[in-house]
Structure formats: C-alpha cells, structure tokens
Subunit: 232 residues, 2 copies
C-alpha cells in the first residue's frame, strides 16, 4: 500500500492528503513531528520538504510537486485505478494554468503568509526549541496584508470560473485549500472580509476528501471551534 509521511499542519502534506483522497487511492499515513516540517530542517532522510510518498515497490517520491505530477501521470496512463479526475485536467494550456496557480499558492502564498504565521503561532507551541528568526510584528502585519491580497485573488478566480483553474476541479484548488485550512486551523483567515473566497472554500471543505483534515487535532495547539464546522 502507498504510505505518506506527513505533518498535520504542513500545507504541502495537506495538499497531497487531499489529492490521495480525491483519487480514492488506498494509503496509510505516518505522522512526522513538527520539526520535519520547519523549512530548513534537515531531519528527513533525503533533501526534500514533506510529504514523502513511499511506494509499494520500495521507492520514495519526495515533495508535493513530484508527488502531484507522479500521481497525475499514473492516472493519465491508467496505471492506477483512481476514481477521481486527473490532478491536472484538460489541455496543455489548461494544465499550465493549474500549475501556475499551484506554484502561486505553494511558493508565494507559502512564503509570504503560511510559513510566517506558522513561525509565529505554531512552532513556538510545537517545537521544544523554536527555530531562530521568529517574524517581527512588522513582518506579521505584512503577512496579514498579503493574506488579504491572496484571498482577494482566490475570490476573483472563484467569481469568474467554476473552479480556481477553470471549468474542472484541479490540484490548484487542493493546494489553495491546503494553505487556507492550515491558516484556518490557526484562526488567521479573515473570512468576513472575503465572501467570494469563503464560498469557494466552503464548497471544497464540504467534499468528502476534506474530512480527514478536519479531524486533525494537535493537543499542544487545538483548532478553533469553527475549524471543522462546514457552516463556518
């Protein structure tokens, strides 16, 4: 069986948990500690960010980028019996648009917002020795301002398309939802100021694939009451 090494509040791990669920691929989860998810950590057996997908035949596919493309190829070639559509559906240009957005969320939103707020709110509670370089209050203000811009852009996409990358759901929806779900776990998403993004997120959050993420609970950092509420 496939085995995924992940961390509960790692947005990359969450995006792959979502795609495995959407594809209905049997897999086992192995929870890593928070220290494996801090950027710059050298704790994994090979240089990569979480998650790691261990294959039945023994190889390892490392990182959300390689895993999402690996699964897309398996589904595309009909090698695995997946229930869902390909993570990158459609024409070459449709696929390029989904990848532009994945890159936007997994690199830009991650660097500008998610990692900043994890460093401020999660690592001090979850790590025995918090890594150096906790964000300053100016950096946190900048992260909150960037988050509002990212929410506006998600809302713009949600208003003008059926799904973020086009007519079909894609890995871009899952990558964006992975980050927003981490930020929502930290109570950091100003939903009241982002009605269009909220409607889209409520739709993704209601999918059966999302349920395991909503059941995540870290005892040292419990989520707010609205986190698992589909009617937030």
């Amino acid at each position: 069986m496939l085995r995924l090494r992940h961390f509960a509040l790692c947005p990359f791990s969450r995006s792959i948990r979502l795609v495995l669920q959407e594809l209905n691929l049997a897999h086992e989860l192995v929870a890593e500690g928070a220290d494996a998810a801090v950027p710059g950590a050298q704790g994994l057996a090979l240089p990569a960010d979480l998650p790691l997908l261990e294959l039945e035949e023994g190889g390892v596919v490392a990182g959300a980028y390689a895993i999402s493309e690996y699964l897309d190829e398996l589904v595309g070639r009909g090698v695995i019996d997946a229930r869902g559509p390909r993570p990158f559906p459609g024409s070459g240009e449709d696929r390029a648009e989904a990848r532009r957005l994945v890159d936007w969320f997994h690199r830009r939103l991650d660097r500008e917002v998610t990692q900043q707020l994890l460093a401020a709110k999660a690592w001090p509670r979850l790590l025995s020795s918090a890594p150096a370089g906790a964000p300053s209050s100016a950096a946190l203000r900048a992260a909150h301002a960037k988050l509002r811009q990212h929410l506006d852009y998600v809302g713009y996409l949600a208003d003008t398309r059926r799904w973020l990358a086009g007519d079909a759901p894609s890995f871009a929806d899952l990558a964006a939802a992975a980050h927003l779900s981490v930020l929502d776990y930290l109570s950091e998403v100003p939903w009241e100021g982002a009605p269009s993004a909220k409607v889209w997120y409520a739709r993704v959050k209601s999918r059966p694939a999302f349920r395991p993420l909503l059941a995540d609970r870290l005892s040292a950092l419990p989520p707010p009451a609205h986190y698992a509420d589909l009617d937030f």
Copy 2:
C-alpha cells in the same frame, strides 16, 4: 515564434532560457526590468513569477514550473520538433527524482540563498527604490552557510551520478545551474571549497546552451571577470 519575458538575473528565467536552448526551440527574448523579478512584485499582467512564455497562438504559460512541464509534454507528445531530450527524462520515478531536485533548487536554494543575495547585492544597484527588508548581516551569514551546504549536496550528487538526477541530463541540472550562475554573476560562489560541484558546473557551463547567459551584462552591475570564463 515563442516569446519569453525574462529578467537577466532571475534564476527561474535562466532555467527556462537554458531549456529552450537545449531543446533548440526558436524563441525571442523580451527583457523585463529588475522590478518584475523581485519576489512580491505585482508588476506582471497576471499573478506569477517570471518568466512568462507567450505562445504563437496567443496564450501565456507563466512561471518556470508551468513552462518546464508544458515543454516536456510538447516534446513527449512529439508536437514540437525539439532536438534535445525531454526536460524530465526516463521512468515515472526518474522524472519524480528530477522534480524533487528542481523543487529543492527552485524553492529551497532560491529562498535560502539566491533571493537573499540578490536582495543584498543586486536590488540596491538595479532598483530606484530598493524593497523593504534587506537582509541583516546575520541573515547574510546564514545564506552563505546554506550556500555551502547546497554546494556540498550538488557535489555529492555529481560524485555519485552522471548528472544531478541520474544517468541523463534533466531540468534539475538546468535549475541548479541557473541559480549558481546568478550567484556566480554576483561573485558569491566559493568554488575553491566545492571542487565536485565545480566540475559539474564547468561541464554544464561549457554546453552551447549556456552561451547566451554568459553574455549577459547589466551596466549597473557588471559581472566579475571569471563569470564568462569556461576555465574559471
């Protein structure tokens, strides 16, 4: 003809210039200003990092991730008459290994080293108003320490494999070389302490695809003499 919007010292742009050359695909370059390459800039027509690939039929493929995969698909499907091998050659697992490394260089090396040293050495010379958040001297020391670790890892790969991702050259070599060439332009690579990485880089740098990059000259920030020297 394909048209690539790029910036001379943008590592993502450089990786795509290299792959277009390796594939021998006719294309036209349009130089953007440094302000389009600063992370966080909102200067482009759509939310993406440089480069942008404008297609003959009118679409735009945005960002190194989407462009590299788009070109790989075109070559794989035989749609374009490319001379070189696919950017991601081999089996599904071979391709995953190349992607792990691309992600490592384009996300980790970029964040930990390349963007820090561009912010310290390039943006103050190239931008009329340097963006806020120039790295502290402690951050620069950390970036230099990280660079030595990355060079060690490149050297380890070069010592144990023919090319960074395996037996065949791949986009992983081009992504790594793109970052190192930017850092070399800034005179920031301690080659004397990284003999294995240097041997690999000299091999990549000698390829005809590299020549246009070695001819890059920014008048406000000229490269060191050894930058274009194949015998550096």
